[in-house]
């Protein structure tokens, strides 16, 4: 765990520090909605995936989806959090055209999941812990389209009623990079668990960012006492849907708050929107409209009681989690923290690596997977499970290096042919005659010929041993790069009398 200096804003009156908390909305990867039997699929015609419950028709009653409850519990376990065996659904009341019921069914006082922790990994491999405040289940709203007509707003309720897990962190993040790293780690976790597909482009995972600024030292007082009055007033930036925007929004918002405070002003606790085009945040709601959601328990829904045996059964289905997997890859295969980190970002990557590493040098397999394969895949916009090279062939390639059949340099060439779909590495090496020449007779013959043709170079090399490199190059050229470099060097040393 490494402590890192928080992000600082240099003001006219001194330094300011950032305090950040995130609310991440993760769409549950379910077939049907949270309280109705309508489908959740993306890209349908408007208002096709809508039941009369989702459209808020009078007299329609919600019935909760068991699978969604299970995913919330599973995610709770992934966050090492307390599972609340009794939780309650409340109505959050507000009016907006894409909220046909006039309220959102959410959980206010008694969420399904309580406090937990997420260990976050930064890009450089260092780690820090973020406290989780809670996770609750709630309905998504519909979508308002404002640009189809100058005078009218178009409303599509396909998303209305889709299950969301709102995951609320404690205000434990201190820099834009750490906030992005938190979202990244959380995304990896829900993808491992299979509870959310983590697709930020489709809006299936999005973040509200709470930003406040304070003087150095105040955060430590807050951490020691839990007293929020040590911190500044926060603003909430709604629905930021990429890692880059999260960071941009925070940087802008911190600067804005510092300027207000240094001019002697006060921060209004409010909801703001991030405009990616302008790179700035702006106020969303006017003050006289200050939100008063008037939460109360939804009379249509009884409290959600979880059978302890069911909760245990859910826990038993948990896969190996990313941090445990990273540690195992390091200890079992001797990988560096960085390589292990790259592999565990996607469960499928780690699976691929483990398949490929069976019985061969794991470090070499990791190099081929993380360097060659992943960069090719990302260039072609492919995921690892779409790789044209099966994991066994990466293992096969490494086996050929290990038994001296090919050099690592030739292996890269073989890899290119594998990528081009020419089949298994052994077959490619055979068909293309890429076998490493370890036959000293053949190497000697090549060296003799080169020495005979270049007496001046021979003299030069005897004077200046560094010039031997020229000979190595020539031998490689003569043998099509297949000569064993160690053998070439050794024979050259002898023949040149160095």
């Amino acid at each position: 765990m490494s402590e890192r200096a928080p992000y600082r804003v240099q003001g006219r009156t001194g330094e300011w520090e950032l305090v950040l908390g995130l609310e991440v909305h993760a769409q549950v990867a379910s077939n049907a909605k949270l309280f109705s039997g309508a489908a959740t699929g993306f890209g349908a015609e408007p208002n096709m995936h809508v039941s009369l419950v989702d459209a808020g028709f009078p007299g329609m009653l919600p019935v909760i989806n068991k699978y969604c409850v299970e995913q919330a519990v599973k995610t709770g376990f992934g966050l090492r959090a307390e599972i609340n065996h009794v939780s309650v659904f409340d109505r959050k009341n507000y009016f907006y055209p894409d909220l046909p019921q006039g309220y959102q069914i959410s959980q206010f006082k008694q969420p399904i999941v309580g406090e937990g922790t997420l260990e976050v990994e930064r890009d450089d491999g260092s780690r820090f812990k973020v406290g989780i405040e809670r996770l609750h289940l709630e309905q998504d709203a519909g979508k308002s389209v404002h640009d189809m007509d100058p005078h009218w707003t178009y409303v599509d309720l396909n998303r209305s009623g889709v299950a969301l897990m709102e995951i609320v962190s404690k205000p434990h993040m201190r820099s834009p990079e750490d906030a992005a790293a938190y979202v990244k780690t959380l995304r990896t976790l829900v993808r491992y668990l299979g509870t959310c597909d983590g697709d930020m482009e489709k809006g299936n995972l999005r973040a509200d960012v709470n930003v406040s600024v304070c003087r150095p030292g105040q955060f430590e007082k807050f951490m020691a006492s839990g007293d929020f009055t040590h911190l500044g007033t926060r603003c909430e930036i709604k629905n930021v849907n990429s890692m880059r925007f999260i960071q941009q929004a925070i940087v802008y918002e911190a600067r804005r708050q510092v300027e207000i405070l240094e001019d002697g002003g006060k921060i209004d606790q409010e909801t703001r929107l991030f405009d990616p085009g302008k790179g700035e945040t702006r106020s969303m709601r006017s003050k006289e409209d200050a939100m008063d959601y008037r939460y109360f328990p939804d009379p249509d829904l009884l409290p959600l009681e979880l059978d302890p045996a069911w909760v245990k059964a859910i826990q038993a289905t948990l896969p190996e989690l990313p941090d445990a997997k990273r540690e195992r890859l390091q200890s079992q295969y001797g990988l560096s923290a960085y390589d292990a980190g790259v592999l565990v970002i996607e469960g499928a990557r780690a699976d691929y690596f483990e398949q490929a590493a069976k019985g061969v040098d794991a470090k070499l397999v990791s190099n081929f997977t993380t360097n060659e394969l992943l960069s090719r895949l990302s260039k072609d916009g492919l995921e690892i499970d779409q790789s044209p090279i099966p994991p066994e062939d990466i293992g096969g390639l490494v086996a050929l290096i290990q038994d001296g059949t090919i050099s690592s340099k030739i292996a890269k060439e073989v890899f290119d042919h594998m990528w081009a779909g020419e089949g298994a590495p052994a077959k490619i090496v055979e068909a293309r005659g890429l076998k490493q020449v370890t036959d000293t007779g053949a190497i000697e013959k090549a060296i003799d010929e080169i020495m005979a043709a270049n007496p001046d170079k021979v003299a030069a090399a005897r004077d200046k041993p560094q010039a031997v490199g020229w000979f190595v190059g020539q031998v490689m050229k003569a043998t099509g790069g297949k000569a064993n470099p160690a053998a070439v060097n050794q024979i050259l040393q002898t023949k040149l009398g160095l």
Partner: protein
């Protein structure tokens, strides 16, 4: 609990119900009376009594994750005062 005209104005606004200025004061009086009547319940000692959430002994029923509904755009839009290309159409809302 006494309810004043300002509270009535605020609640009416939150509920999107129009209440004429002249009706605020009488309604405040009426609501104060209703609240006082309900507050009699507070006289009952409920220490150690679990809140009752239902008068029938059933648990929250759970549904399987199966698509059983939807695909009824026509019915969903049938009562909409205005619709176009499958969307509900409402007066412009600006954020």
């Amino acid at each position: 609990m006494a309810i004043d005209a300002d509270t009535v104005r605020k609640v009416a606004r939150l509920a999107r119900i129009r209440v004429e200025e002249s009706a605020l004061e009488p309604m405040a009086k009426e609501l104060t009376g209703i609240m006082a009547w309900i507050e009699q319940l507070a006289e009952v000692d409920t220490d150690g009594v679990e809140p009752m959430t239902s008068n029938v002994a059933i648990k929250l029923p759970l549904r399987e994750d199966v698509v059983t509904d939807g695909e009824r755009q026509g019915a969903v839009l049938a009562n909409a005062p205005r619709s176009d290309k499958g969307f509900f159409v409402v007066p412009k809302v600006v954020e």
